[in-house]
Subunit: 235 residues, 2 copies
Amino acid sequence: MNLDVALCPAELAGVDLTGRAAVVIDVLRATTTVTAALESGAAAVIPHATLDECRGHARREPGVLLGGERGGIKPADFDLGNSPGEYTPEKVGGKRIAFSTTNGTRALLACRGAESVLLGCLNNRAATAERLADLEADTLLVCSAKQGRPNLEDTLCAGLLVERLRELVVGMQVTDRARLSLELAHALPPTPDNLARSDHGRLMLELGLRSDIQRCAELDVRSTVGRWTGGEIII
Amino acid sequence: MNLDVALCPAELAGVDLTGRAAVVIDVLRATTTVTAALESGAAAVIPHATLDECRGHARREPGVLLGGERGGIKPADFDLGNSPGEYTPEKVGGKRIAFSTTNGTRALLACRGAESVLLGCLNNRAATAERLADLEADTLLVCSAKQGRPNLEDTLCAGLLVERLRELVVGMQVTDRARLSLELAHALPPTPDNLARSDHGRLMLELGLRSDIQRCAELDVRSTVGRWTGGEIII
């Protein structure tokens, strides 16, 4: 098993993902939020590139909820923003959610062509690693990054996934990028304080989202792992 | 002064470099070799995208030397490969060198539009930082990466440049990528052993280039800093 990390989606131009497993990581906050939604019993999360595509989806499918953000903020006509805490069983249980965020969707699209696409975050780090170990495929961890540039929080999460996978899979081959993420996660663990000092963490503090950072930093607290298949994210 | 790092050239698509200083880093080995050539008295190094462009240059300009590599190996009809040790005063003093390597040229081209473009490596780390501090411009350190994907050695060199610049410039603002490189350089210093364990280092060991790795790992041993201007690299 070969383990690689893409620190930003642009790296994947021209990379053949056939037969590989991919994990999309957007710690602050898309993959954390989608994981929360599925663990709260949402039937499916359907990612869209734009807010307008979400609205079009809602017109075609009555009952679908609208979720997501732009610039970290919930659009006024949406049911839900991008805070994992909003996605409670009462609000999303049994529901389908049309969802769009700034960076997460781009990373998902970059993983087209992979055999399996999972959604990883710190909350479900151990569960994601176990799922990958079961798949026994060459694996690529894809950081969503921020406006196309590598960020701290996704790189740290990738590093902790590398850490757990090395414990689970004997003789795994790792690339420079996997080693780099792992070393970094050991040097600068993704505590709430360290996430708050990242570029995106500082923006979230300005938006009053400190409690979201704390929730997104919780390690191994969820057993749910979303899987992107047929255009929808399901368990 | 704002300090950013691009871990691979693809990140720079759409980034405006106007008024900024950029440093191209290709530790193994292009920027180390060009620095050695200039310190040995070469008049200029002229980078080309392809080996054939180098050959065309030599036909137009008698006396120009041909230098570079593909897959780490010197083309049979070239005067010099990509080992810094080859570029002695006896061989290159006063000469102009048409030069092409696999990854370094792409990174240089990605820096088009910057106000100043310098060539950094571990050998001239401190000298490069001092030059940047004098420029007092917002600065971007650009890792050449390997086939478009971030690598260990360039990220570590960027981190040590960040370290030295923070000592020289008070109140410098750093991005996630600058912090990430710095933390990584502290966790995994670019010793010959660590460079030899990188993806590209392992390839170089296979090619019998251990002494090149040792030379490229030497920190702050050169005072020469190449500058890319008008299509040529000069001091």
